[in-house]
């Protein structure tokens, strides 16, 4: 049985996918995840999830974000100085996301 492994660097962080392990049950999957993924990289917590329990949709099936110009969803479109630091931070994140979408 294949288990997908998600690792959290430190408390409060997100668990992000880091690989998978082959194990007969959850307990063994956790043990294998621990030795494979928790030994060197900073680790606060690991999740294991049976691979068959994961649903997936990818670019074969979906047009993420649509196919038409949706620049109106992005802060950069609006030509005003960000009113506050958190607005500026959001704009940076949005612009970065927009840029990466363009590259993909």
């Amino acid at each position: 049985m294949i288990w997908e492994v998600f690792r959290q660097n430190q408390a409060g962080d997100y668990h992000t996918h880091c690989g998978n392990v082959h194990a007969p049950d959850r307990e063994m999957a956790l043990l294998f995840a621990e030795v494979q993924h928790g030994r060197r990289k900073p680790t606060n917590s690991l999740w294991v999830v049976p691979q068959e329990e994961i649903g997936e949709v990818d670019t074969e099936d979906a047009k993420f974000g649509g196919t038409t110009n949706k620049s109106y969803r992005f802060a950069r479109t609006y030509n005003v100085e960000p009113a506050a630091e958190e607005v500026e931070a959001s704009e940076k994140e949005l612009t970065e996301a927009e840029r990466k979408r363009g590259e993909a």
């Binding site: 802060a75 609006y78 958190e86 931070a89 959001s90 994140e93």
Partner: protein
């Protein structure tokens, strides 16, 4: 964990659903999150008619995207709330429909004219974003995580709102006058967004002690005025003489509390304010109209679960 231990450990993103938290903490966090989630939903309903009323295709699409975002924010926050184990999502949504769920004062007022939209989309959203950025440091990790995504999206909302304000205030004299009128009407309500002053706020102490929130009403009101008051002036809006706002030497502001209508504020807080009641009922009506969709999804979920009793559908 007891209350004292919780206070001692309180720090950003410290507590998750795995922690054994005292009831006081879980109740206080539920109250904050439910209020926040309800506000996202009620705000979305208030702005929804402007998808139709917006004067250009670009504005329509932006309002449509924004309303969609806000409903999504409500969903994120109900998730973060239900994981506290105090109230289920269904209970929170039912309470909102029945007029028992509380939400932001500004969303109890009608939003009728296009010139009013930046009052919500720029000033109220800007005020909300000031607060939300601080909640990334909340001790309830699911709340902080919800804030990461909400703040990511919210920058578009605030800039879109500001863009409308800029357009109106650079428009015809008539547009400028109408926008000023809307500002005069909304300004006191926006000042009340952050609630009564600290010495009169009943819930702050505990929520701050356990790290659920990190800034007081007064600090947030100051932070808002520091950035948004100059913005209002920049666009040529005149700040009304009342409520009186005193600027102190240290860059902080004092709003003269007696100049604000606290009777109205507390009537709103009890969900007794007439226009707000209408908005609660309007949403209930919309909710009832699509009950068949939820029922169909519930049935589907029962089937998918092999006929066992399911969780209520989201």
């Amino acid at each position: 964990m007891n209350v004292e231990e919780t206070k001692a450990r309180a720090s950003p993103r410290e507590f998750s659903p795995k922690d054994d938290l005292p009831e006081e903490y879980r109740k206080a966090a539920t109250r904050m999150l439910e209020f926040h989630a309800n506000s996202e939903i009620m705000g979305a309903y208030l702005e929804r008619p402007f998808i139709r009323k917006a004067p250009s295709l670009e504005r329509k699409m932006a309002f449509s995207a924004k309303v969609q975002d806000e409903i999504g924010h409500g969903q994120l926050l109900y998730r973060a709330a239900e994981s506290l184990g105090v109230k289920t999502r269904d209970e929170m949504l039912d309470d909102l429909a029945e007029g028992k769920g509380k939400f932001l004062n500004c969303f109890h007022y009608p939003l009728e004219s296009w010139v009013e939209t930046p009052m919500i989309a720029f000033f109220v959203d800007g005020a909300a974003m000031r607060r939300q950025a601080t909640l990334k440091k909340s001790s309830w990790e699911p709340y902080a995580h919800a804030m990461d995504k909400i703040c990511f999206e919210e920058g578009f909302h605030v800039k879109h709102g500001e863009s409308i304000l800029g357009e109106l205030m650079n428009g015809s004299k008539k547009e400028q006058e109408m926008t000023q009128e809307a500002f005069d009407k909304w300004w006191p309500r926006i000042l009340q967004f952050f609630g009564p002053t600290d010495d009169q706020s009943s819930h702050h102490d505990f929520a701050a002690d356990v790290g659920l929130k990190v800034m007081t009403n007064d600090e947030l009101r100051n932070a808002f005025l520091n950035t948004y008051l100059p913005k209002a002036k920049k666009y040529g809006l005149e700040i009304p003489d009342e409520p009186r706002i005193r600027e102190n030497d240290d860059g902080t502001y004092d709003v003269v509390e007696d100049d604000l209508d606290w009777d109205e504020f507390f009537t709103i807080a009890k969900n007794d304010y007439e226009p707000g009641v209408g908005q609660i009922e309007g949403r209930k009506h919309a909710q009832d109209a699509v009950e068949w969709v939820r029922n169909a999804l519930d049935e589907q979920e029962v089937l998918a679960a092999g006929g066992q009793s399911p969780q209520a559908a989201d």
